[in-house]
Amino acid sequence: MLEVENVEASYGSSQVLFGMSFHVNPGEVVTLMGRNGMGKTTTISSVMGLLKLKAGTVRLNGEVVSGLPPHRIARLGVGIVPEGRRIFPNLTVRENLLMAAANHRKVREPWTLNRVIDFFPRLGERLHNGGNQLSGGEQQMLAIGRALMTNPQLLVLDEAMEGLAPIVRDEIWARLHELKKTGLTLILVDKEVESLAGFADRHYIVEKGEVVWEGDTPRLLSDEESRMRYLSV
């Protein structure tokens, strides 16, 4: 579904990605792991078109999307839940969701406001609250709900569990399991091996702007040396 090939990108004069390559198959859950500052979020920005590539290509279902403006890439079915949640604080929960409503790929059973509220009942209770009045967990639910309203075929979650209380994490993990069951393709960007290992199919470890390790979950769990080398703080 998604193929990232030899992508190089930089912020001004400091290059962050040096030949980043990975792929995601339809219906798969894939993680990008790595310590802070290794280029995980930059990779996501490059996929979304938020950052101009210096080299390399990004393909979605075989078609080159690198070079397209971000809103075009989003309309092709890439949904993003950005790091730090990034909802619109000056809009209500209902407005945050309605604004994103779109079904550009003409999905047969699209996500709607009511379906998102059924999925995250807590949002239903807060519909008329401003985005700035929500707890961190609620904000994260809203960010996921907003991405679902665009009816994506690929959903990217950047540090989805960062700074959330364990009980809220469990709740959101449960929701993500349900999304996985619907066949939605997922990319998770995170640092914590334990919670990701049980959920994802394949993993990429990112170090200094490129993939240094890849494999499925059993391999990740057995390769203690790589985990220590690339992931432990």
Binding site: H71, F88, N90, L91, L98
Partner: protein, 351 residues
């Protein structure tokens, strides 16, 4: 069934909530009707003239706030929209009074003094002007947007200064009475009610727009355009449409201004006037639809009162603005919150 019972109360409360949004506008419109009734019974034509002017600038302030408060675009060219709309009325009325057609290339237009034709014409002229200037200015944002709109304002200003055929810097007088179909708008109270109707329609339109999906996207764009594009929405067309709507409403108000003062001149579209409009909006409150109308009333009212006291009224006016901006962060629309703030301080002192 369970679903229905869940949705209905929400829809009800939503209807109620959207009805409530019209309450401030309704209160203001009723108050303006009351002012007319009082002025007529007291025979005070000056009061009618003052409040007609306040309503016209109220329309402009509400329209400007649509892009400034809700869309985050600080436009310094709204005075030029007033001028364009005003000159449409003044020029065609001039040709009507002189019984000579207006020649544009091979086309000849007969003049008219009927606002039923002039108002739509003002719209027809303002839309492309706003679209073109908007398209160029919206390529930039922040400080650069302010500077480009300022430059467009000055270009329009000097265009009319150079237009010697229509008075140049001295402006253009409207000598024949302006009508709207069968209505004689040179009748002060008729024109007052006509202006009030346009104002009421503007308030309803802007309230509906702000609440619509279009308005939601516009407010989101004011917050963060990058975030918006990441969910599949290109902000530019939304901002441009908002800019054109705002400019057009302002052009209509300009047509009313020319009608009301029977005169239009480049002074009505100077860049400092654009700045004053921004002050009216900020004073009234950026977050509310009808707040800027109050801002316009307070601005023009204060100007009138202070001007009668001293030649150096700008000094006192400046101090008042400083006080308002520091005490009322949300503008005059925030006045209600100032009272509990005072109350808290008083009780704090007692403790």
């Amino acid at each position: 069934m369970a679903d229905l019972s869940l949705i209905n109360p929400d829809r009800q409360s939503r209807l109620l909530a959207s009805a409530q949004r019209f309450v401030p506008a309704l209160v203001l419109v009723v108050a303006l009707v009351g002012i007319l009734a009082y002025a007529q019974s007291a025979g005070d034509t000056f009061l009618i003239r003052v409040f007609t002017r306040i309503m016209i600038f109220g329309i402009v302030a509400v329209a400007l706030n649509f892009v400034l408060g809700f869309g985050g675009m600080v436009s310094l060219m709204h005075a030029s929209f007033i001028g364009v709309g005003g000159y449409v009325v003044a020029i065609l009325a001039y040709h009507d009074a002189n019984l000579e057609p207006l020649m544009i290339g091979p086309f000849a237009f007969t003049g008219t003094s009927d606002l039923a034709i002039l108002l739509p014409l003002a719209i027809v002229v303002t839309v492309p002007f706003a679209a073109l200037t908007g398209l160029i200015s919206l390529r930039t944002s922040g400080t650069y947007f302010i500077m480009i709109t300022l430059a467009f304002n000055q270009m329009a200003y000097y265009f009319f200064v150079a237009l010697q055929a229509y008075g140049g810097e001295d402006g253009l007088q409207i000598i024949n009475p302006i009508t709207f179909g069968g209505l004689d708008l040179s009748q002060r109270s008729t024109f007052y009610l006509f202006t009030l109707s346009v104002l009421a329609l503007t308030l309803v339109l802007v309230t509906l727009l702000v609440d619509s999906k279009f308005g939601i996207v516009l407010r989101a764009a004011a917050q963060n355009e990058r975030r918006l594009s990441a969910i599949g929405i290109a902000p530019l067309r939304y901002k441009l449409l908002a800019f054109v709507i705002s400019g057009t409403l302002t052009g209509m108000a300009g047509a009313l201004l020319a009608t009301g003062q029977q005169f239009i001149s480049p002074a009505d579209m100077s860049w400092s006037r654009s700045g004053e409009l921004v002050v009216m909006v900020v004073m009234g409150g950026l977050g509310s639809v009808s707040g800027p109308l109050v801002g316009a009333a307070v601005y023009l009212g204060l100007e009138l009162i202070l001007e009668s006291w001293t030649e150096y009224w700008h000094l006192a006016f400046g101090l008042l603005i400083v006080a308002m901006v520091t005490l009322l962060r949300g503008g005059i629309a925030d006045l209600g919150t100032l009272v509990p703030w005072l109350g808290r301080n008083v009780s704090g002192g007692k403790n």
